[in-house]
Assembly symmetry: D2
Homo-oligomer: 372 residues x 4
Amino acid sequence: MSAPHTCSAAVMVGADRPVEIRHFSTPELEPGGVLLETLFSEVCGTDVHLSHGRLAGVPYPIIPGHVSVGRVLAVNGAPRDVDGRPVRVGATVTFLDVAETCHACWFCLVAKTPNRCPKRRVYGVTYSAEEGLYGGWSQRIYLKPGVSILELPATLTPERVIAGGCALPTAIHAVDTARIQLGDRVLVQGAGPVGLSAATLALLSGAGAVYVVERHEVRLAMAREFGVDEAIALGAAGSSSHVDRVLELTEGRGVDVTIEATGVPGAVKDGIHMTRDGGRYVIVGHYTDHGEVGINPHTEINRKHLEIRGVWGVDFSHFHRMLRILDRHGAKVAGGRGWEHMISRAYGLHEVNQALSDVETGRIVKGLVQPR
Amino acid sequence: MSAPHTCSAAVMVGADRPVEIRHFSTPELEPGGVLLETLFSEVCGTDVHLSHGRLAGVPYPIIPGHVSVGRVLAVNGAPRDVDGRPVRVGATVTFLDVAETCHACWFCLVAKTPNRCPKRRVYGVTYSAEEGLYGGWSQRIYLKPGVSILELPATLTPERVIAGGCALPTAIHAVDTARIQLGDRVLVQGAGPVGLSAATLALLSGAGAVYVVERHEVRLAMAREFGVDEAIALGAAGSSSHVDRVLELTEGRGVDVTIEATGVPGAVKDGIHMTRDGGRYVIVGHYTDHGEVGINPHTEINRKHLEIRGVWGVDFSHFHRMLRILDRHGAKVAGGRGWEHMISRAYGLHEVNQALSDVETGRIVKGLVQPR
Amino acid sequence: MSAPHTCSAAVMVGADRPVEIRHFSTPELEPGGVLLETLFSEVCGTDVHLSHGRLAGVPYPIIPGHVSVGRVLAVNGAPRDVDGRPVRVGATVTFLDVAETCHACWFCLVAKTPNRCPKRRVYGVTYSAEEGLYGGWSQRIYLKPGVSILELPATLTPERVIAGGCALPTAIHAVDTARIQLGDRVLVQGAGPVGLSAATLALLSGAGAVYVVERHEVRLAMAREFGVDEAIALGAAGSSSHVDRVLELTEGRGVDVTIEATGVPGAVKDGIHMTRDGGRYVIVGHYTDHGEVGINPHTEINRKHLEIRGVWGVDFSHFHRMLRILDRHGAKVAGGRGWEHMISRAYGLHEVNQALSDVETGRIVKGLVQPR
Amino acid sequence: MSAPHTCSAAVMVGADRPVEIRHFSTPELEPGGVLLETLFSEVCGTDVHLSHGRLAGVPYPIIPGHVSVGRVLAVNGAPRDVDGRPVRVGATVTFLDVAETCHACWFCLVAKTPNRCPKRRVYGVTYSAEEGLYGGWSQRIYLKPGVSILELPATLTPERVIAGGCALPTAIHAVDTARIQLGDRVLVQGAGPVGLSAATLALLSGAGAVYVVERHEVRLAMAREFGVDEAIALGAAGSSSHVDRVLELTEGRGVDVTIEATGVPGAVKDGIHMTRDGGRYVIVGHYTDHGEVGINPHTEINRKHLEIRGVWGVDFSHFHRMLRILDRHGAKVAGGRGWEHMISRAYGLHEVNQALSDVETGRIVKGLVQPR
């Protein structure tokens, strides 16, 4: 354990360089500021992208870890959470990683897409470690005034909330956009945390059937444990066996709704072919640039009468609803194992390089960071 | 003029073969059937595609001409139009080219996309000339029982209705799908009949600005005459001058809504770049297969938070609303010249090969067929 | 059992007169016609209204029973069901009670509200017994050509399907219209078959909480058995204890979505008060006229920024999705008792007067008719 | 003219008391604050309600005048407008009257109805004159830091913008909510500034026809001058002649969309009868409480399959789009007389009691306040 006024954090110093442990002083709190003791943060696919320098404009060195759960160590003044409750020392809270959305620009006020606000910043991604403790791979996290905080209800454990993590609100955004109706057949491409969350939400939404296509066996097995109707192995290169199987399951028409959560350009083409005419196709997995895919506007969009939607990030409503969804449904998913069944293992601060490697190779589904 | 019980029609006998004039007997009417004297039909881009065999499953020989206006010569029984009025001999009518939609299959009843009904057939496209007079490039048209007919209101001339033709209901479908709000900036790619109709509808919808990008000068000039805010020449190969200009007009963000009406795959990529983050992109111009375009799912869809919609064909509601729109707004468009200003010239039956060539080369905007 | 070519049916001969058993000859089948042996029909609140003459334009005498399940006894020709499968003798099927929708009028084609088509007729309601066997309280049912038929999948029992009955597709329509999102809190007013179905669908849709307000204790108990978060007794006349309770459960704001399924005008006023500002209020329970309620447009609609939607009847899509929903989710509802737990008891043809009384007094939730 | 550091304002001191002229010191500007010289403010129906004490929680004395146009006299720091431009001394600007929306509460972030945010305050309505110059009936207006400001484009005169005033963004919100499609027939009830603006926007949206029902002859005449298809006099008490006329114009079915802008409870019942089955009914005129109206949930909502929407206030997007709409379309409305044709006359500060009386009695359509 660090001395009272210092703490350790895992710092990503640049592209393709090992994460290092560094020590930081804990900050003075501004009025409205909050200091957390980190209980859990997570390792997600974005962290792997960050470790390879694949996102533009990242101010290395950074402390990764965007979504986290912590215990309030100190507050300055009387900050309140979004439900209007005082943020009390000792309370267990989580917070929206997206901060500083301006609520004053054209994107925020006119286009109503605050997820495209140029001023928004993201904990664990767009703050430099030189600015402060703005990431979850740290024993302490500093919440600036105005960060959207939520106290966990007594019925929700920190483990269950971090199992939702950053993937669940993203999946809520995707599933909302997909407008799943009771009885719709839904395909999810990819069973990483976002895909698995989307598939589970589709099950919770009363879909008529939920299918998953995925490459890694550990993730196929996990999808089955979460109750999907069929988890289909991605065909080997050049094979469309998975496409054939989905068409077979759907009278040759394809599913009503497909949610892409792979980040592989070719999956978009595949996915369109597995979606019915007049269906909906939601792209949520392309968080970084993996190049182009050839699309035929006639056969694949126009004649198909298809709707394609890109979903970028989340706003606070998705985050707020995450807690309500976990509180109401989180215990019963995965055959009663609970949402935390998605967690493969927890890593200490000194193990995060291993964690990044495990996520990158698909050896695990979801890894936590427990910075004690 | 033909003898009373015979008539002439222009027949497309196969791919890349000249259209021929043939003579037909006029048919006995089934109960509910209607025989029309053709006043006007049209030559549209689809007819050019048909002449080159680019549509699958076309039962050559066919009589082209899908949307037409005619005078009722004979009826059997007491057919009524969609507004419930008797179809009277001597009345001037038009009809939806899409017939035989089954209203009994999964697409019609469950997916509610009758435009994807496998039983639907299309006058001028999917009926063989051996079946009968099912196309408008003919002195007579036979309307089977169940075809959706509309009598023209006294305030609408046949010329104004055929100026709408097949392009206008298609454009209505596209503009509905684009959900233009008052004040939105709208880009239309392509100023053929569909694009020009879409641009005019966007103007009528209270758009904040309407821009058109187009290759042919005659169409750029026409777009200006219809009142668009700016008609922008497509840059030469490799130039993105048109993209630059649209971004300059929109504070670098791009328009709120883009409607693609070109049929050129590369236009889709261009168009996405001219559309703002969180905007809407509607593809209506890819009626035939012109191959693929490379799309980057990250930069061009996901991070853009983009909505892409393919629009295939029309249903009767679009056709019905076409008459109401023409009746209310048709006189004032094009600076008071009226919707018929879109018509470049009329061709007799013997001139349809010339008409096809004129459309293909972009020498005209819209050509009529007047089969007297 | 009747002789081979005759059958018995329960006939409602007029308002406030006992239902009588009459004997009918089984009809000759038209091409495309189908004759069913009735396995189950049902007694619903509409049948009580019919027994009191509360619906306009009912051609007494009628054979009630709109939604039914039967076994195919005979077919003429090769009719197909909506999924395209041949309707085979011996198969177990159900059918949409709404027939003869014209698909040719303004309501069907332009307004796209076939549920308001003036030509639509309803089995068990708007056909006279003098026209034939057009109701389910009969040993035989005649399905006219064009009736929308669905064969039951092997995994669905007739009991489970009739437990859905007419209430479930109506509830699907209401729940679709309510646009429930994952995590929304939903209130259902009334726990008759429609209300109980709506509450169960809200649970299946991933609602954050589902509350029911209801007068009869037997229905409150049933709602609890189907798993609602809280079943709240309607306050005695003049008491708003149920309103107070819902507000207490929702931080004083009210629920996100309310579905009215009572048929009591005053419930609309109550329900608006239990719905949050900017929420959605769906009225599906007012199938007959029970008079007015005073509504304050300022406080109850305008300042509340409220959305109110009336939902009338169903179209085939709701019926089709009913089978998919029952097939996927029907076994697990009501704590694993299955959808058929909604059935209170089955009545023979001679017991239907008792059945009507039991429904009217709220002694049962849902009664079947088993016309053996 | 006042001395440099003082100014005059018209102050509403309480319910049913005459407005008085008082003198104020001009304030020191906080960082980000802006001081305006008022060019125009307006007198709207809300001001009449305020003068009678009909709104709850108004902190009299107040300086009325919510929407205004002014010239920048001074700024502190470098405030920017919503389009990102610096707010320069000498520029002509307008601003959203709704300020202090918190962007941090459940209504702002989760329900996304900032128009229901409990912290929002409104210039001219919910600020006390003791707090400062927060209303437009004043020679100076103080814009607090964070107020949403827009500089007028060079092509827009202050007169045209104030002619839009508070009514136009409200009408934009209502028309958006009504989702008018090209060709829809639209009825507007009431031709005060909101109704007249809604009717004009419906015309700009490509409606198939726009009808207005109104009591006062001066407003009927104005509606005709703005180009509605028919301006129909409200029937005398007990007469439904206006309802009969609308049904006659719409084949007995009623219009597709009705927008209520009267504030009279009975108009809601009337309006529902003039709207077709499956249509949309938007209530925007009930800004204050005028009591109840009896509504029959069966015949007037449920069986009608009706959608009813209450629209409360505006958000910044409506205000931003107002300028774009005025800029693009403002000159051509009212037969080329421009939006400012809606202005009946301008009043000096000493004449505002007369202005209130003129609005209340319907002698004028729209009155300005010009506080020189």
